[in-house]
């Protein structure tokens, strides 16, 4: 009898604890990535789950080398058997051209690791034609990526947000006593390993390409081709090149630290490089001389406890396994604090709307969450990376070079897409690449 009561008590406790944990978990999960919506301005809900799952490999192991999924008719010419991807433009928007792999899956086939979501090299035993297929049924809908807001420029969007704040008596002028206490260390919220779409793991390639203008489609195709087919990854950190603005939403240096003052908000991080962004509160552009900045110039204001910013003057650059952006890239970003059921601050929802009329066919949006981990007072130091170059391009491949070794090195033009020049010189001699003449107005 006593034993039975004990079992009942234990069972009751376990059940209650489970319910509490589930309820708590649900509460937290519900709190994140659902910033308050102000219609047509910010916080628009996503049509489907955000962040999205990665595209899976269709099959693992040598028996899947080059083998399409049942019911899928492969193309006669695709990325892995073409002689000239430039000629295949008509096929680029067919996911079978990519064997249904996401961009990063293609890059990972040859990046030295086993490859995304698998425990064996997905390029197969006879590269590149043996490249394996991804799951053709997986793709994150394009509607989740394109901006749900009606604006054509970041400036218009920012001014509308400012006008909205003014209509409610804002913008808020915080003092040291009233300002949000966001100072501290943040991590990436990745429920079940899901990450934002800019990691290039959640979409079929054609969906990503559909976001881009024709010239930038070609640039992305070129990059995926040389990464997946030639294993000629020109990743910025390999050469101590700057990582660039968009890499903070992928595997580049993340905004992992925040400092808030009444005049500025600092977003900082360190990893494969350093990122330092300064939100200048209450300011107007320009913030300084007209020199493009790797992380742009940022102005902002408080709308209650939400921080609303605009970033311009960004250096155009490249993110590997994904899309290039131009000097015209500008963003509107909204940071909204998230609290658990008990009112405890657990992090920031960070909504970014990207405007780049040169590279993007239409504005796009990223919503991710940075989960608060701890204060500066208990965290490890924030490192600062002075990159010491690990690799050099040898015959077009990023290659480790030992001290004392003498190599031939062609100095890149850093502001003329140096990655593309390497591919052109070493891997495209027999291709019919659209001519890119240096047009200076003289013969």
């Amino acid at each position: 009898m006593t034993r039975s009561m004990s079992v009942i008590r234990t069972t009751t406790w376990v059940t209650a604890l489970s319910v509490a944990l589930i309820a708590g978990g649900t509460s937290i999960a519900f709190a994140q990535l659902r910033p308050p919506e102000i219609r047509d301005l910010r916080g628009a809900p996503f049509p489907s789950m955000n962040p999205p799952p990665d595209v899976r490999s269709h099959g693992e192991g040598p028996s899947w080398d080059g083998k399409p999924p049942d019911g899928v008719q492969p193309l006669a010419v695709d990325l892995f058997n073409t002689k000239d991807f430039y000629k295949d433009r008509a096929l680029w928007m067919d996911k079978r051209y990519w064997r249904c792999n996401a961009p990063r899956q293609v890059a990972d086939m040859r990046s030295g690791g086993a490859g995304s979501s698998t425990n064996d090299p997905r390029i197969g035993s006879t590269p590149p034609t043996s490249a394996r297929w991804g799951d053709c049924t997986m793709d994150w809908p394009r509607e989740n990526i394109v901006s749900p807001y009606p604006f054509k420029s970041a400036k218009d969007h920012y001014e509308a947000l400012l006008a909205d704040a003014k209509s409610r008596g804002g913008p808020t002028r915080h003092t040291y006593d009233t300002m949000p206490r966001w100072d501290g260390v943040y991590g990436e919220y990745a429920p079940n390993g899901r990450r934002v779409w800019n990691y290039s793991r959640a979409n079929q390639v054609p969906t990503m390409l559909s976001l881009l203008t024709p010239e930038y489609q070609q640039r992305m195709v070129r990059q995926i081709y040389h990464e997946g087919v030639n294993a000629a990854h020109q990743w910025s950190a390999s050469y101590c090149w700057p990582e660039g603005f968009m890499r903070q939403w992928a595997t580049g240096p993340k905004p992992s630290r925040i400092v808030v003052t009444p005049e500025v908000v600092l977003l900082m991080g360190s990893g494969s490089g350093d990122m330092n962004r300064v939100v200048h509160l209450g300011r107007q552009f320009p913030l300084g001389q007209d020199v493009p900045q790797w992380y742009g110039d940022t102005i902002g204001f408080w709308d209650g406890d939400a921080l609303i910013t605009m970033t311009a003057n960004i250096q155009g650059w490249n993110q590997h396994s994904s899309w290039e952006w131009s000097d015209q890239l500008e963003t509107v970003e909204i940071f909204t604090p998230v609290r658990d059921a008990a009112g405890k601050f657990i992090g920031l929802d960070w909504e970014s709307v990207l405007y780049d009329p040169e590279a993007l066919a239409q504005p796009v949006r990223i919503l991710w969450h940075r989960n608060y981990q701890q204060g500066w007072g208990t965290a490890d130091r924030l490192g600062f990376v002075e990159c010491t170059r690990p690799l050099y391009p040898i015959e077009g491949f990023a290659t480790q070079v030992a001290p004392g070794q003498v190599i031939e090195y062609k100095v890149p033009d850093m502001l003329d897409r140096p990655w593309a020049k390497i591919w052109e010189e070493h891997f495209e001699k027999d291709m019919q690449r659209p001519k890119e003449e240096l047009d200076l107005g003289f013969k």
Partner: protein
């Protein structure tokens, strides 16, 4: 007597040292980020060329350009027929901006003239030194053998004139 000489000499030496130290302290900062030893400061080469791009975020402001030929009708090209790009190191970026040299004022295709101290090894790069910088009005170019300072409506950026081309020494006959 010998002691007096030693004391006097020591005082003079100390005065010189203190004087030099004071000069060093009050002299303007050169604001250099590297040695200029690579450039031949005794030589000026004067170019009229076409802007490929300006690079405002280098340690020193840079201009990348392709020289025009003497007729001012065509780009100078390398052995492979590609436009031969020269890099001119300028003053600091803040000084360049102060002189009105920006991405907007020097877009691709701008024709301009400037003298540079070339690299000693003959490679296509140099330092502006004290040379003036003149821009041809958009859509114009100088007459053959002349520079933008000869074109009506030209614009100067910063102080200085175009230097004279340093004569190339004639190789001695053997």
């Amino acid at each position: 007597m010998a002691t007096k000489d030693v004391v006097a000499t020591t005082r003079r030496a100390m005065a010189i040292i203190v004087g030099l130290a004071l000069v060093a302290l009050v002299a303007p900062q050169a604001d250099a980020h590297h040695s200029y030893a690579m450039y031949d400061g005794t030589v000026y080469r004067v170019f009229t060329g076409v802007i490929v791009r300006v690079v405002p975020n280098a340690a020193h402001f840079e201009m990348h350009f392709v020289p025009l030929n003497e007729d001012r009708t065509a780009l100078v090209r390398d052995g492979k027929g590609e436009p031969l790009v020269w890099v001119a190191q300028m003053e600091s970026a803040p000084q360049a901006f102060k002189d009105g040299i920006t991405r907007e004022s020097f877009p691709r295709g701008t024709v301009f003239s400037m003298g540079i101290h070339p690299r000693r090894d003959g490679k296509p790069a140099g330092d502006r030194g004290e040379s003036g910088l003149f821009q041809c009005p958009m859509g114009t170019k100088p007459e053959p053998g002349k520079h933008c300072d000869s074109v009506t409506g030209h614009k100067a950026f910063g102080a200085g004139q175009l230097p004279k081309d340093t004569p190339v020494p004639t190789a001695p006959r053997s």
